[in-house]
Amino acid sequence: MAGDGSPLVSIGQSPGSPPTALPAFVARPPEGFYRSLNPTTKLVISFAEAVCAFVVRGWTGPLLVLVVVAACALLARIGRSLVPFALATIPLTISILLVNTFLYPGATDRIVSIGPLAPTWSGLAAAVQATLRVVAFALSVAVLGLTTQPDQLVGDLERRGVGRRAIFVIGSTIRMVPRMAERAAEITEAQRARALDTQGGILARVRGVLPLAGPLVFGALTDVEERTMALEARGFSAPGRRTVLRAFPDGGGERLLRWILFLGTLAIIALSVAGFLEALP
């Protein structure tokens, strides 16, 4: 950041006030306590939660992460919006619960015996732990998604020095995926209307993939050449850094928090590799 005498420096020092030069619809200052944190801080929090949920085994990791996620959600006032994300994990958690409760390798502590079915306590415990892990992970992802505009996160990463090529790939992808998903949904709908039923037998569904993949894939790939030339014609491969449009508030406290989370995550991984976390309940 050193060396650029652009107005963004003063913007960074006065949190909340949008740069006067940018139109309001470009500045888009985030509002609310958790939302207005620096996007990168929220990303680091989310990654730390994910690592903690998976690496700290047993009950400790998943429950700890769930408590933190719930606290963040309350601060951001998005508790209710999290419900659909929790519900979305149900098919997965049912699968985890069933397979592990009834078929946990090596477990002998049966809960009951019903014919060939033999649910075990250790299987159930492992299943519930895995379920909590999955739900904690899903909700940590959801809190980031609900409180952070993707292009603000990308913009902040670019300001921090991530290269223009990586930034373009991420920025372009997060806008392209919903569009392409929309088109795919339209095509599958059209297939369904033409009785290439997506609910039918396997062969019918395999035949359904080809007309789906064809236009989707080839349409996109033949565009690559034009996109390449258009990018070059707009100075994409110019040397040096791109102009930063917006700087997001980033106080000393946040910087400290990110370092603590970062070092803490490394410490947890190191402890786990060394086997010190096995003793946790």
């Binding site: 397979v99 390798p105 090529r165 997060i174 919903p178 392409m180 795919a184």
Partner: protein, 273 residues
Amino acid sequence: MDWVSRQFPTRVIALIPIAIAINIVLGYTVQTVLKLPIYLDSIGTILVGVLAGPLAGAFTGAASNIIWQYAPGIGGGTIGPFAITAAVIGLLAGLWGYLGVYKSRPAGGPQLLLAAVVGILVIAVLAWRIYTSPVYGTDPNEGGYGSGVYAVIVGIGVVAAIAVGGFIYLRRDAAGAWVAIAGAITGIVAAIVSAPIAAYAFEGVTGSGADLIVAALRQGGADVYNASLGQGLFSDPIDKTITSFVVFIILASLSPRLIARFPLGDKIVPESA
């Protein structure tokens, strides 16, 4: 440094977002909407690896899974931690690209026959390897699902062998044999990389149709890790072989003039074009 930057010219940068979107959208549609028992979520990754190189492929794979995890609406699930697998798939695809696996090799007569036989043999060896795999453990008569799994393996093996042999023969292109080998190896490696991730992060259950295979293997006496490995060794070689052929067909349908402009284009387009 030059080796790195040569894999990321503007043309590849323009391709990667499209490749990632194809991975995510096609993968999501195939698994969730069409409910097919394969993934088809690495077509873009292999395409980029083959056209641009190992690093570009690895980046595409890893970015696909991470962005998929965070994508609103179709995201979530268990896809994120498998970014490691996706990166390895991309790395391998870059290797296949360097080796010229996807270069069209028009052939006829005995050469074509040999290629078709090699292709069928690859599938047969794979199917046999899965069939006799120790992870399936005990006597199939003991487990309720055991014999069913064996029948499915044999059935899919026969269909795959016919498909690969027919593909090579009908297109009169010996490259099909190499593509089958590359796809199968990619699948085996992907399974080996995925198994510990699935076991460690999700107790081996990932919420897809493949969970049935995991359950069947556990019924047969496999532990968490080996059940996941067995499921992977079953699904991944099939999926990656299909994916490799899809990529081969895509490359064959795109204009050679456009392919030649990619970093590894000269390893794909026959010299005569």
